[in-house]
């Protein structure tokens, strides 16, 4: 075994990657099918704003979870609520929300960097699995279990609603409840994965696995499992790369993901 793998912080990093991958890989096809890539990116940015808010409110700089979860959930569910009550298209509304989140985030981050070292904020921006704590792992595991318990029973209803809202309505599915439920699970998954991926890149692990798997699968079942596999290979591979070469874990994972995507496109052409 390479010496690096014997260090507890590296083992925690790999475990975090191995938990985040199935979590985001499982959600990835639903995110792509429901066209929530942009939304996911904005929630990642909202998490960053939540980090700054938490630090300013006195939470620990490496685990401001109460503020991050609270702000991100408020942000995500608020967006869904607004979209359901306005005539605005989803991407327009998400664009407005992105502007607000960035504006607020920048103001808060400037205030934060006056009190803390800017490198402590970089971990939230780009991911830093080497600083993963047992609390981070516990939260990742808990959200993974919560996702399986809440999402899977509603998956078929969500998919029918995605294919044709009219068919879902006639089937008397609880469309609004399912949407809020999915956004809750998605937001939690994004928030607890920020340590691994970074706020700016967490969306990649929600989009690229499904985009990669989509090139070579025909069924939804195959799509979802291959998406999990792609996420797992990229996450663990990216963490190993970031351990050996001194680069942020989020960036390394994104590069591995991009390589896998390129391979899948090449395979499809054949």
């Amino acid at each position: 075994m390479p010496e690096a793998l014997t260090f507890p912080f590296v083992q925690r990093a790999l475990l975090a990657a191995a938990l985040a991958a199935p979590l985001l890989g499982l959600l990835s096809p639903v995110v792509v099918a429901r066209k929530l890539a942009f939304f996911s990116a904005v929630i990642g940015q909202a998490a960053l704003t939540g980090v700054a808010l938490g630090v300013l409110l006195g939470e620990p700089v490496d685990a401001p979870y109460a503020s991050v979860i609270g702000f991100s959930l408020l942000f995500g569910l608020g967006l869904v609520w607004l979209r359901r009550r306005t005539q605005l298209t989803s991407d327009t509304l998400v664009g407005v929300a992105l502007a607000f989140s960035l504006g607020l985030g920048v103001c808060l981050l400037v205030a934060v960097t006056k009190r803390f070292n800017v490198h402590q904020v970089e971990a939230a921006l780009f991911g830093s699995v080497l600083t993963v704590t047992p609390l981070d792992l516990a939260l990742l595991g808990a959200v993974l279990i919560l996702t399986a318990a809440l999402l899977l029973p509603q998956l078929n209803a969500l998919l029918l609603d995605t294919v044709d809202p009219g068919l879902a309505h006639v089937a008397q599915l609880r469309r609004a409840r399912n949407e809020y439920l999915f956004i809750t699970v998605l937001t939690l998954a994004i928030v607890v994965s920020v340590k691994v991926m970074g706020a700016l890149m967490v969306e990649a692990l929600l989009v690229v696995p499904a985009a990669t798997a989509q090139q070579v699968t025909k069924s939804f079942r195959g799509w979802q499992w291959l998406s999990v596999a792609v996420a797992l290979v990229a996450s663990v591979g990216g963490v190993l790369v970031s351990t050996w070469v001194s680069v942020p874990s989020g960036a390394a994972i994104v590069l591995v993901l991009s390589g896998l995507f390129a391979v899948s496109v090449a395979l499809r052409r054949r």
Partner: protein, 204 residues
């Protein structure tokens, strides 16, 4: 209201439908005809509950109400026909596969519309006629008490139209109440028990 499966009173949608009333007898095929823009699909949306409206829509059927939409925005993502049909029959999450019961129901639905060979085809690879069969299949299993058909003949060739006529008669034989929106008045006269004509959002 003995024998009335659907009672519609004073149905209005601003700018699209004006004070439309009609009754549909149980176990009959009721056609709604009219030219483009007459309000047929709006009326069907009200009956399905997907379009907000004034006035009353009272269903008096026991069992499933199913819908065959005029067109489906076919997903560009991976979904095979059997999986799509499994979404309608209370299957296990697709992540773990729909299960034997749901799969058997999906295959039964396809056999009812003569399309068993489509079960493992991705939805995005189907022709218009094949897609129409799959849309009808999802409406047939589980067996519906009432079916809403929104111009199911759109885009079909003559052979598929003949097949569709047979399906309408089969639905009637099974005792289902059918509301069939169509622009083909001649076909409606041939196959429907009752007809409501719309023009400019009003009963003609």
């Amino acid at each position: 209201m003995e024998g009335v499966a659907l009672d519609v009173v004073g149905l209005s949608v601003p700018g699209r439908l004006f004070d439309v009333s009609l009754q549909v007898r149980a176990g009959t095929v009721h056609a709604v005809v009219g030219p483009n823009g007459a309000g047929k699909s709006t009326l069907l949306g009200c009956l399905a509950g997907t379009t907000a409206h004034d006035g009353a829509v009272r269903w008096n059927v026991r069992g499933r109400l199913s819908l065959v939409p005029q067109r489906l925005a076919v997903p560009s993502w991976p979904l095979v026909v059997a999986e799509f049909l499994a979404l309608h029959v209370g299957a296990r999450p697709l992540t773990v596969g729909p299960g034997h019961g749901a799969e058997a129901q999906a295959r039964h639905a396809l056999s009812l519309v003569g399309a068993s060979e489509l079960a493992d085809r991705p939805l995005r690879t189907l022709s218009t006629g094949q897609l129409q069969r799959v849309l009808l299949a999802q409406a047939l299993v589980p067996a519906p008490a009432a079916v809403l058909l929104d111009e199911p003949e759109a885009g079909l060739d003559q052979e598929s139209l003949t097949w569709l006529d047979g399906q309408l008669q089969a639905l009637r034989r099974r005792g289902a109440t059918v509301v069939w929106v169509t622009h083909d008045a001649a076909r409606a006269r041939t196959f429907a028990d009752q007809t409501t004509a719309l023009l400019g959002g009003r009963r003609a």
